[in-house]
Symmetry: C2
Subunit: 231 residues, 2 copies
Amino acid sequence: MTGTGTEEKSNLADIAYVQLKRDITEGVFRPGDKLLMSALRERYDIGAGPMREALSRLVAERLVTAASQRGFRVATMSIDELRDIYFARAQLEALITELAVQKGGDSWEAGIIAAAHTLSRVTEIHAPEEMLTLWDSRHKAFHLAIASGCGSPKLLELRETMLDQAERYRQLWLREMVFSSEALERKREEHRVLVDKLLSGKSTEARQEMFEHMMNPIPIITEILCQRGIR
Amino acid sequence: MTGTGTEEKSNLADIAYVQLKRDITEGVFRPGDKLLMSALRERYDIGAGPMREALSRLVAERLVTAASQRGFRVATMSIDELRDIYFARAQLEALITELAVQKGGDSWEAGIIAAAHTLSRVTEIHAPEEMLTLWDSRHKAFHLAIASGCGSPKLLELRETMLDQAERYRQLWLREMVFSSEALERKREEHRVLVDKLLSGKSTEARQEMFEHMMNPIPIITEILCQRGIR
DNA sequence: TTTTATAAAAATGTAGATATTTTTATAAAA
DNA sequence: TTTTATAAAAATATCTACATTTTTATAAAA
């Protein structure tokens, strides 16, 4: 065997699951779209069995809805759902942050500082789309560095499921954000303040700061949704 | 059409999902057991396709683990996982409780008082097994009445997933609890205190009370797991 | 023992059969 | 004409049976 030892064999259902999930969050399939079996089978070059497996998993993750004998649809989006997802996510992230600060630890702090630095180095030297993906992945890494200090795998798992559910809304926000220097600068400042609170050890304040940071995108996303006629 | 209007047709995968989930939480299939395709197909009288669908959903819910080309197993149990699940669940339930108290509302309060009363009326007049199921369902209803006041469907959804994951551990605790008059009385008292805090409107205190209430079962369950040689 | 070869068991996938829903066409009633 | 109801046709979802691939168990050879 070559490679790293983390070789994970995967079956067709796994592959289709990953691809369809990406296609949904990237908007190839739009909210409410019917996910026609024949179309999916053609697109992912796969039989109906594995395809249904992939769909079932996405139903469990709330990205797809199923109606028995009537097939599958991309889960719809709405402003109500945006608010609920972002609120729940902010509460959860704030809780996790408070726990992480209380637990502290040198390597946790070091991880945050490193991630914050890496993030701050993403500037306009990159091509637009490249810049977007890079900022996004480093921003995610930054927040994960903070959350990972909470010490509870299950809480991190819950956090991950909320992240998945927020992803389609987040992508809308991301494009507004990354292509506006002022917005980027504002975020940079927010992150500075956040890191200060985290390292100060004041867990309650850090919690509050994180909550607000997580709620900030809601108005911008609401705006975009309205423009697209989603209510 | 007859019936209530909530007629939900379901396909074979749905049926197998519900039955297998029950069989796992009730211990028909034990932690770590191989879930042999041929055995499952025979038991639920179903083809491999729908069976795999049901299994996939349970994998997403963490009750089953999958290894590609090597089939499925019942997720193992451990004291570490017990601690993590109960901690995460307690934190989440405490958070939800705090929000519910802040949001308040007359019908929310009324719902709690009603549920508490109904629960307190489950006494030894029932046959043992009947008593167990009755107390369990009313206890769940009581806690749901509290949580439902938080106003966030997504937080309630997260709560539900944690409940599912805790269920196998909870069942162990339930038998110890329900068949001991002292333990039952202690719980009754805990609930009284909890309701007091909830209705007093002191959200921070209510939160703390709920956290402790949720953490209480851990030592008892740890004991039982040790007796069964699970570490 | 360790390795290699072989056979049995099991998981996974496809194709086609079956059942259900949706659409379309047609006719009756308003 | 417009609406409503009905029936046939098409599209679609679902399921099973069988074929293929992979893993595991067993035994022979080094």
